[in-house]
Amino acid sequence: MYELINVDKKFPGVHALKSVDFKIGRGEIVGLVGENGAGKSTLMKVIYGAHQPDGGDITIDGTKVRFQNPRQAMDHGIGMVFQEQSLITNLTVMENIFLGFEQQFVSYGVINWKAMAEAARKQLAKVKLDIDPGTTTSKLSFAQRQLVELAKVLTLEERIDGDLVILLDEPTSVLAKEEVELLFSLVRELTKRASFIFVSHRMDEVLDLSDRIYVMKDGEVVDVVAHDDANVDAIQHKMVGRDVDKEYYREQKQKPYQVEAKPLVAFQNVTATGKYSDISFDLRPGEVLCLVGTEGSGREAILRTIFGLETPSAGAVSIKGVPVSKFNAQVGVANGVGYIPRERKVEGIVAGMSVYENMTLSQMGNYANSGVLRIGEEKTLARRWIDRLAIKTPDVYKDCGGLSGGNQQKVVLAKWRSAGSDIILLDHPTRGLDIGAKEDVYDMVREMSDDGVGIILVADTLEEAIGLSHTIIVLKDGNAQKRFDCSPGDKPSLYDLVHHMI
């Protein structure tokens, strides 16, 4: 019913979509996979009307259509479920659901809040969410927000007579396992009414949910696989254009860490009120320690404590044997702690500053004589690390905001590694990266570990956590539930972890 024929899209210097054919039938769930930069997001934007194609046709039930903006696409039954951040947090749930479509509740210019609440409750029921529609969105959990997003798109059901096509963009990235299950069962149920396009970096989920899978590479659709024929390795091969290392998480490179060495970081019964309580662990050189838990289990707060952004209320933290008394980021950096934050674009790099400026941001003192920078040396350093990590950038002057996600992540890593940080905190380091970039990150983790760097990881997926770490601590509601040792070949199973998480 919905079809793209020969669609082309060019941006200055980039041929983003090369005569793409794409089709989705009634009630179908279509997966869309590809590395970053393969053209997935451009394709989605064309579908929901944010971009207009330069060539080719879009048809619905054989009729040609052209959308000038997302609004027009919506009027044709095409909706988009963004990642959870796309709700406006200062508005109520019902306002978010009907944002831009308030007119139906307006009589004589007045919004009838009662009617809107009633209608919102109906939408929320579709996604089995039982909350007050008048709740301010900022008070919801991430999973609830994701469902509200879905409920919002499902309002198309009442508005549009024809069929619905709903795009799901990385809907699971912040969800815990059981929340993902819930979402998927919901989506399957909803196929009675709508078709779905499902975009995710999590290959297992795509395979699980989709009827057919479009594989994109370099702006082209390189393969379309039916659910029953799908196989992770084959798809990844198509996406990356080469065989993907079977040892995805580089387990074979995992070496034992220095158990006897003095701990780099030591937590003794540390509590941060409202965030986590009574946490104790030691991080030793070469160790990859993974904190596992659901969103809000205290993982991030522990990382932020080590870096100095969070002051604990009780217990003792010491770094390299020295008790930490003052908690701020300057102290953290001085102690050799490097922090690779989850919000890469916001906290990791400074968009608007060049590659070399970003790399030395945390260590400007090393490249300055009494405050005057030695810019030549900065650039030399940047070039060395660009080579070492194979960062794809035309030169050291390139605005970091213009790099791809993987390369941005490499710049962030280079920033800390080049400064000699030997305690690295990784918060979702592979989030939103494609396979190739992920592999690079995994390689770097192993390398750092070999160099005797202590790493604390909050992983994007449980598999990643299991694959990478020497040690796993499972957290639940701010309390440590269980500690696992993960020597190669003797790793805990997914079930073991989930069991303690919830």
Binding site: A50, N69, P70, R71, M74, M80, F82, Q85, S86, L87, I88, T89, N90, L91, E95, N96, L99, G100, F101, E102, Q103, V106, G109, V110, I111, W113, K152
Partner: protein, 321 residues
């Protein structure tokens, strides 16, 4: 949970508490401060400022800023006065048409302001600053520097006629405050201001015509500036190029003191009412307790900082510029 709730409640009511503390303080220093007649005086000086501040509240909720109010107020006041006199010079004649005309002019200037900001993609700070110059300049061009007196007793009853101790202009201001509240809470446009302020890109992706909301916001603000201009003329019976002066900093300060955040999305017209009252109570109180003129600017500064500090939810703010 109850802990969080009380903090929320406290922050929500902080501006009002600040206002009450100020009133108590000035009353303690000078009991005559606490009298109906003085409150009426504070009401008179607050009424025009409140209208202007309400206008800019909508803009600030959107996360933008408007610095054009001084020019807009002057133009509206002057146009009103000219038209009023040309059409008969008393409300009992066709001259009442000058009132809708002034509102129209205010809206039109706001519209132009919004168009310059949105279509030329100039940040609102700069666009409105420049439009403010244009407005003041235009008012000067109209008057050639003269002042126009509006003597009509019927119109001036805004000031002279009192109900329950307060002059009519206070009730007019109250009426428009209610209208603003209605717009803010019960109309699509009002709610869309919050959406734009909470997340412009997200609002756009939800199919909201953000540019239209912005332009409408500036036009609406212009209408409220015009109301402010009418009350300002009603207060002193004179329309001139200087009618709008000093409104800019006072109105924005009032909005922020009332608890509406400059980064958008939070606050509203009731906050602005409290903010305007805080600023005017301070100004009135300082003279009433006999503070020397030369320290008043400094004291106002310190009190404003204190008021903003007390009414800011510091836990929700990571950084401030």
């Amino acid at each position: 949970m109850s802990n969080v709730l009380t903090r929320d409640v406290l922050i929500k009511w902080a501006p009002l508490i600040v206002l009450l503390v100020l009133v108590l303080f000035f009353t303690a220093m000078e009991p005559r401060f606490f009298s109906l007649r003085n409150f009426a005086r504070i009401g008179i000086s607050s009424a025009p400022a409140l209208m202007v501040a309400i206008g800019v509240t909508f803009i600030i909720i959107m996360g933008s800023i408007d610095l054009s109010m001084e020019g807009t107020v002057s133009v509206c006041a002057v146009v009103f006065a000219f038209a009023f006199i040309a059409l008969g010079g008393t409300l009992a004649s066709w001259a009442w048409l000058a009132i809708p005309l002034a509102l129209l002019v205010g809206g039109a200037i706001g519209l132009v302001n919004g168009l310059v900001h949105v279509l030329l993609k100039i940040p609102s700070f700069m666009a409105s600053l420049a439009m403010g110059f244009v407005g003041t300049g235009f008012a000067l061009l109209l008057t050639g520097g003269d002042r126009i007196r509006v003597e009509d007793d019927l119109f001036r009853s805004l000031l002279t006629e009192r109900w329950f101790g307060f002059p009519i202009m206070c009730y007019v201001a109250l009426l428009f405050l209610l209208i603003a509240w209605f717009i803010q809470s019960r109309t699509t446009l009002g709610r869309n201001f919050y959406a734009v302020g909470g997340g412009e890109e997200l609002a756009h992706a939800s199919g909201l015509n953000v540019n239209r909301v912005r332009i409408m916001g500036f036009a609406l603000a212009g209408v409220f500036y015009a109301v402010g201009a009418l009350l300002a003329v009603g207060r002193i019976g004179i329309a001139e190029t200087a009618t709008g002066s000093n409104f800019m900093f006072v109105s924005i300060t009032s909005v922020v003191v009332g608890g509406t955040a400059l980064w958008g999305g939070i606050g509203g017209v009731w906050n602005t009412l409290i903010g305007v009252l805080i600023v005017n109570v301070i100004n009135n109180g300082m003279v009433v307790i006999g503070l020397p003129g030369y320290v008043q600017d400094g004291v106002l500064g310190i009190l404003v900082i204190a008021a903003v500090v007390l009414s800011t939810d510091r836990k929700s703010v990571t950084f401030v510029k």
